[in-house]
Symmetry: C2
Subunit: 190 residues, 2 copies
């Protein structure tokens, strides 16, 4: 998804600085409040450079969310631990990579962000659910339930910052939420 072996240019450092600043601003402020001027200032360059290298603000945003986002393979872990392991992986992803934070902040008001979020859902959670049930419709429902709990957890903990949710230890969170995800994936339909 991301470019790998392009010819090295002298401006690569600038490009990277812009991208890094954009990541932080979009993740912290959402699409509208993250201005091109602010991003450029963070990157220590002129706003016009953003346009030169990314075409437009929308193009810059597209570059920010155009990253591989993969949950570690859950194939080899015991079936009974899928819930807790998945929750742990999601917490890691959330805390060490700003792209999910960006997608959530932006996806709530911006259609491109929402579309990308749906893409992550279809590409990561849906295939996971399909390994546990037979019908495609059932898998879709279960994946949606998993997404609701996992995104809801991130929402109250990292975005809305509800006190209790932000203060819960990682272990507590896994112990509480893991079984929910486990049930959504493996329990018989109610």
């Amino acid at each position: 998804m991301t470019e790998t072996d392009a010819p090295r240019r002298r401006s690569d450092a600038t490009r990277a600085a812009i991208l890094a600043a954009a990541r932080e601003r979009f993740a912290a402020d959402g699409y509208e409040r993250a201005t091109v001027r602010a991003i450029a200032q963070d990157a220590g360059i002129d706003p016009s450079m953003v346009m030169r290298y990314y075409g437009s603000k929308e193009g810059l945003f597209a570059a920010v969310i155009d990253v591989e986002l993969v949950l570690p393979g859950l194939a080899e872990i015991p079936v009974d631990d899928v819930g807790t392991v998945l929750v742990g992986h999601f917490l890691d992803l959330w805390e060490h990579d700003s792209v999910l934070q960006t997608l959530l902040r932006v996806g709530v008001t911006n259609e491109a962000g929402a579309e990308r979020m749906r893409g992550v859902f279809s590409g990561q959670i849906l295939p996971l659910a399909e390994r546990f049930v037979v019908t495609r419709a059932d898998a879709a429902r279960r994946a949606a339930l998993v997404a609701s709990q996992v995104l809801g957890m991130a929402l109250v903990r990292y975005v809305l910052r509800f006190g209790p949710a932000a203060q819960m230890s990682r272990a507590d969170l896994v112990a509480w939420v893991g079984p929910t995800v486990q049930r959504y994936l493996t329990a018989p339909e109610p």
Copy 2:
């Protein structure tokens, strides 16, 4: 919270039209993209009227989110049904009142919206949780978990509009999510 017996003015209809238009716009577009001009056009009046009656865009937003938001009393229902009943109430609230949609859309990027959201949490879900456990810290954790699941459900269903989540029937949703909430409220600590 809302004014009740003020002297009736001739402009009450206009005030109401502005408020109604603002509710829809804020709920649909979030704070930044809901412009005063667009709201005024929806209400069929001049943008300057918004300033006259609500002081500023921020004042208008404050008026929009300044509404009583109460979950129906859950005191008289059987303890074992708390989860399913609560989820049902939340779905009703979400579909018949735009204020929660507004708060979620805005709260993700706007601190005033987030603060109001935390207020709803503290005023509605926290007291509920305190009826089921003894220590205040435990209640806070459980309330946060309930909020994460319930808001996450709303997020994927009404805001991000994940296909499977949006298409699930109300009955299915209650049957799947109800037990999760029930467990968060009444299960012993893991």
